[in-house]
Amino acid sequence: MIENRPWLNFFSHVVLILGVAVVALPVYIALIASTRGPNDFYSGVVPLLPGPHTIENYKQVLFAGISTSGAPPIGLMMFNSLVMALSIAIGKIAISIISAFAIVYFRFPFRSLAFWLIFVTLMLPVEVRILPTFKVVSDLGMLNSYAGLSIPLIASATATFLFRQFFLTVPEELMEAARVDGAGPMRFFWDILVPLSRTNMAALFVILFIYGWNQYLWPLMITTDPHYYTVVMAIKRMADVADSIPQWNVVMATVVLALLPPVLVVIAMQRLFVKGLVETEK
């Protein structure tokens, strides 16, 4: 900074520490709640210090499920969430990179039309066309299936644009050199373009994994079989079950389990995450 103003620097740190504390508070409360017994929540205020029931709470939700809700163990739901998040992230990257390849490296009739059709998907969030989409998926017999959880969500205008932008920055001569070296289109794609896109793919993966894991409305609508529940959508059901007195300790244990994987991904891959976030918005 330009001039040394100790009190202003000090004030900055105070603001930041307060900010971090406020941002972390809800998760702290949830963490604490997940370590307490069920009787700590009947009256008064929520406990602010950890209790002794951590292991039994987590064991219960992960492997046994919550008796009153009739829901399967959270372990299975987390697995479902993982399958859904991975399918969506990988599926989106895969179909976007090949469509961007087609759009940038070929000229063919209806190319612009295809580009615009992909573009339009930006304007149709699932929440907006939820009913007719549900009907399509149900007509195709995809309710209660991993395919139904992921495939309808894997079209991606953002990822296609990102790859398109990136491909346009790849020097022309690389493709020409590869052609002179005897590489056909697919060989060039695999040997040159995909390795060069690795960072972009990783950055997108972080963003899309979070997107997939955090889906709520979609799994809520198309799963009725508890074996296909995802953890994010199941929390609500759980919190609702014993409407008067939800079992806060196990609900919060579930909350912690639901937020942990994507949060860990962001913290572990912060640089890729920031890159992905900034570039997908361009």
Binding site: S12, G19, R129
Partner: protein, 294 residues
């Protein structure tokens, strides 16, 4: 539209490459959207036996419906609340981080992770914080004599969903503000300092005006976020209540269509929302174009 100088020659390959994306787009995006448009012109009788083409009846009915008007008002209040709260807090934090040098990375890590928390989970977290019987915030509020109950007070419910939605969005805005601040040439700020401008004067005369493109961009993004991505927050907490106080446009589409089974009205609302998204996307892209040019 831009391509490479030299292109691969193949009649079938590009179609094969673009086929999966096209298939998903057409089956799960365009076809349902077209269905929504079609249904917005139809009306089904109570038993679903007969559908009649009613022109714009659904639209006129929708816009004269007081609950829709209420929903529109709720959405505006909600979107402004989320945008203001999350933008202001993010800007304050970004300015503070910009002053710290050595520790900025640590603070950034500690501030960005809420982006990864699902909206539904964020809703539940704050729902728990605000739980009228045992929540910590109502407990603290009782000391100032405020009796919090979001299941009865529409105002409380609105505050709850605004806070839960903003909490998740702060990290996003924060990252963009930090990037925007770093993009301001140090020489400009230094020149202002030499001209005698103190930190506050510098902020309002140099930094904030230079940050305005970022702010505008985030304003659009936050509006889109508040309008569409917060469905889960509302569904997991207030479910539009109490007494429609948090029934935003997106939530209403779901409620009228899926719970109320009023297909025609739900489809009509979908179409209205699509028009809003198209307008917002258009604004966003105009902004990007303008930025790319200089």
């Amino acid at each position: 539209m831009q391509t490479k100088r030299t292109l691969f020659r193949s009649k079938t390959l590009p179609y094969l490459l673009i086929l999966p994306q096209m298939a998903v787009t057409i089956i799960f995006f365009l076809w349902p959207a077209a269905q929504a448009v079609r249904q917005s012109f139809l009306r089904e009788d109570a038993f679903g036996f007969k559908t009649t083409f009613v022109w714009f009846d659904n639209y006129t009915q929708l816009f004269s419906d007081p609950t829709y008007e209420n929903s529109l008002r709720v959405t505006v209040v909600f979107a402004i609340g989320v945008a203001v709260l999350s933008l202001v807090s993010a800007l304050v934090l970004a300015l503070a981080v910009d002053r710290t040098i050595r520790s900025s990375q640590v603070y950034t890590t500690l501030l960005v992770w809420p982006y990864a928390v699902a909206p539904a989970v964020a809703g539940i977290l704050w729902w728990f914080m605000f739980n009228p019987t045992i929540g910590i915030l109502p407990y603290l509020l009782s000391f100032v004599g405020y009796h919090w109950d979001h299941s009865l007070s529409g105002f409380d419910a609105m505050i709850l969903v605004i806070i839960a939605s903003s909490w998740k969005q702060i990290s996003y805005n924060f990252l963009f503000f930090v990037a925007g601040l770093q993009a301001i040439p140090k020489s400009l700020v230094e020149a202002a300092a030499i001209d005698g401008a103190g930190p506050y004067k510098r902020f309002f005369t140099i930094i904030f005006p230079l940050l305005s493109p970022t702010t505008f961009f985030l304003l659009v993004i936050n509006t889109v976020y508040a309008m569409f991505d917060t469905f889960a927050v509302i569904h997991a907490t207030t479910q539009g209540g109490p007494a429609q106080a948090t029934n935003t446009l997106v939530y209403k589409v779901f409620q009228d269509g899926f719970i109320g089974l009023n297909i025609g009205s739900s489809a009509t609302q979908s179409v209205v929302l699509m028009i809003i998204v198209i307008a917002l996307t258009f604004i966003q892209f105009r902004w990007i174009e303008r930025n790319v040019q200089y």
